[in-house]
Symmetry: C3
Subunit: 158 residues, 3 copies
């Protein structure tokens, strides 16, 4: 076996802080020359949606309603306070010159991080390929995610 040099991140969370961590780690790994993959599943899909996550059926619309937003409207895992926590974080991060989520995601894209979307989550939540940003490389299942993970030196579930 050749030495493994990749990183695979499974992103289930759609919380601001966790998505932030995922993109930070992925861009750090890719910057260091590691072959890097993020597999977006469940709420993590919010990080690669174009706008709202809204399925065509009743259930999908319902989830979309609860979930409305886009990358700019994710709440932190603590202290969301109806958006107040997000506002505070953004404010503080801007004040400190930290990159925002859209910039971090773009950095990942520019550094060649592979974006994989979970097929089953998309089916269940009634999200179509067209609802996701075009930079998503592929729509795959858990077996493919595990294959990337097994070939990687570093794996994270976030």
């Amino acid at each position: 076996m050749a030495d493994k040099n990749g990183t695979t991140i499974l992103l289930l969370s759609g919380d601001f802080d966790k998505v932030f961590a995922a993109f930070s780690l992925a861009s750090a790994a890719a910057s260091a020359g590691m072959d890097t993959t993020i597999f977006f599943t469940f709420w993590g899909l919010k990080a690669i949606q174009k706008g709202n996550l809204t399925g065509s059926g009743f259930m999908g619309r319902m989830i979309g309603l609860l979930n409305r937003g886009g990358l700019g409207r994710l709440n932190p895992s603590k202290f969301s306070f109806g958006g107040m926590g997000r506002w505070m974080f953004k404010k503080m991060m801007a004040a400190k010159g930290a990159a925002g989520l859209p910039e971090l995601r773009q950095a990942c894209i520019d550094l060649g991080v592979r974006f994989l979307a979970c097929k089953m989550s998309m089916d269940v939540m009634e999200i179509k390929r067209d609802d996701l940003i075009p930079e998503v490389d592929d729509v795959v299942g858990a077996a493919t995610a595990m294959k990337f993970a097994a070939a990687s030196a570093v794996q994270y579930f976030i």
Copy 2:
């Protein structure tokens, strides 16, 4: 050192979506021929309980009360709405032909995934071996979980 080919998942969460992810990844890993282990700790124990998690003492009953359910009554990490989120997820998953938690857990068992339960969590939460499904292979401590992890190619904390 021989090439590592295993997967070890530490499951601390009892949320529907995270338990679902753990069983999905474990069954995918085992299907791919990897030696696969799940270590159930804290709320993760709910995924291998027979019925309710109720300790014999006052504290244990109290936790059991808060925690009542079983595999069929886990709520998602977001939008639980007193069970509404769970109902929606189940509805959507059934509509899409996705396996439910009991089916996924059974698939893990059938594929030979090793189920380990955290001794300390069981002590603290007053859960007895007999409260867990018989398919649990062993009750062990964190040191044993780390040993399995260190011998694995892939590790996740969920």
Copy 3:
């Protein structure tokens, strides 16, 4: 490549149960002779603060207010009930002779676990080096955390 024998834990959570898991796993790894590192980021910084996490600016004070406590006042990820969940857990753990968070953290320190604090989180949350316990080895960025992770046999994101 020499065989990897380390463990790197990225701790983003400040929840009682997850901090507990991080320190338990780290001390188990270090006890087994593994070179062990914890990278504390976002809420995870609460686990290595001296007292309250309070920044000097308005935003920092606000986060500090929401976040007040210290290692002895972390709430579990479920059932916090304004501190009730924490109280119950402590009560049950003491009754069962399980170590508390301060003891577990001290065990990590005594076993030589490397404590790294996330520079960007500290900047954003207005936390100074002096607000952290002196046992913190260094304040570093995500790139350094990834370097430790890539050199480790086991990685967890908690």
